[in-house]
């Protein structure tokens, strides 16, 4: 089902822009992959060289958790604001929203889309903006 749809959608777009061939696509991402490999190699070489250069003299005091110079109190654990958690919910929801902007951004000004697509996206964003307003009014976005 989706395959048929994609085939003719591509036909619609193909006329307006250049076609990116899969060969070029794979070449591009091979280079990206190679950069990652180079990065890992660089780090590995750096650590190997560091291993030759640096001293290794572990003492108990050195391995102690650092707490401003005094001996650590309690365990390596601190309780903190649960409040942060609301923001992370908000972010996940809005991020899902935001990614739809990108495919839309590439096509909405193309012939055959235009104003209608713009309105569609505005409705979409409008709903989310209502959500943001709701969060604002509920005082989620402020701590004080």
């Amino acid at each position: 089902m989706a395959t048929v749809a994609s085939a003719d959608a591509v036909g619609g777009v193909r006329g307006t822009t250049d076609v990116h061939l899969a060969a070029g696509y794979f070449h591009a991402y091979t280079v990206v992959g190679l950069v990652a490999v180079v990065g890992v190699l660089f780090v590995a070489v750096a650590f190997a060289a560091g291993h030759l250069l640096r001293p290794v003299v572990p003492t108990r005091e050195k391995m102690l958790t650092y707490e401003c110079g005094v001996d650590p109190v309690g365990e390596g654990w601190a309780q903190t604001q649960i409040r942060y958690y609301v923001y992370s919910f908000l972010y996940v929801i809005f991020a899902v929203d935001a990614i739809y902007l990108f495919p839309w951004a590439t096509v909405f000004a193309a012939p055959g889309f235009g104003g209608t697509t713009l309105v569609e996206m505005f409705i979409f964003i409008g709903f989310l903006a209502v959500g943001l307003l709701y969060a604002w009014k509920k005082g989620v976005l402020e701590w004080t």
Binding site: A2, T3, A5, S6, A7, A9, V10, G12, V13, R14, T17, V19, H20, L21, A22, Y25, F26, Y29, G76, Q79, T80, Q81, I82, Y84, Y85, V86, S88, F89, L90, Y91, V92, I93, A95, V96, I99, Y100, F102, P103, W104, T106, V107, F108, F113, T117, E120, I123, F124, I125, G126, F127, L128, V130, G131, Y134, A135, K138, G139, V140, W143, T144
Partner: protein
């Protein structure tokens, strides 16, 4: 993707296909470690590996846009959310023996059943569909956008309503017991870091 007029053979060992299989095995391994490790945060980090493996698989299927969505949403925010939750609720360093609920076998059965169903559905739906690696890249943002805004506008709009509902739900759930906290906060200046004990006191009073 094109309909398989000339069947490319089930396993023509081109580089992309070999890479696809290898990454798939690695991803499966990472996923298995994710569910079997006894260390909570390690599980979350293995999940990053598994999700990253998925992203690479999408890339190999020329679904460029979906691949980066995978990285942005799953690795960049869902896993961060997970880690965040783990850190807030005391995830110890080392094994947590009480993390096992003892329902391992039931979970295994459910997982296998779900996987079998999914695999069957996908195989059934795309039995004769092949990604054409020789032609145009099919998964770019432009193609995705064209399909989305030409054929799937209504689900797209419905999605916004769903997201709104999720947002409101999250806020309502997280605001439980908030009035007491707010009254305390209005009295004293909010410090950048307030320990939980003071809040607990506020809730009791």
């Amino acid at each position: 993707m094109t309909l398989a007029a000339g069947h490319p053979g089930f396993m023509s060992p081109t580089g992309v296909e070999i890479a696809f299989v290898l990454v798939g095995i690695a991803t499966l391994g990472a996923a298995l470690v994710t569910v079997t490790t006894k260390q909570l945060v390690h599980a979350a980090l293995w999940l990053v590996v598994a999700l990253g493996g998925f992203a690479v698989e999408y890339l190999l299927l020329t679904a460029e846009f979906i691949a980066w969505v995978q990285v942005l949403i799953y690795v960049g925010s869902v896993v961060v959310l997970l880690l965040f939750g783990l850190m807030l609720t005391k995830a110890p360093i080392g094994r947590s023996p009480d993390a096992d609920s003892g329902n391992g076998w039931v979970a295994l059965v459910v997982a296998v059943a779900a996987a079998a169903t999914l695999v069957w559905v996908v195989v059934d739906a795309f039995r004769s569909t092949w990604v054409d690696l020789g032609g145009a890249a099919q998964g770019s943002a432009k193609v995705t956008g064209a399909i989305l805004f030409r054929h799937w506008v209504l689900p797209f709009e419905a999605l916004s309503v769903l997201l709104l509902a999720a947002l409101v739900g999250a806020i309502v759930l997280s605001k439980r017991g908030a009035p007491a906290r707010r009254s305390l906060l209005s009295k004293s200046e909010a410090l950048p870091m307030r320990g939980v004990p003071s809040e607990r006191k506020a809730r009791e009073s």
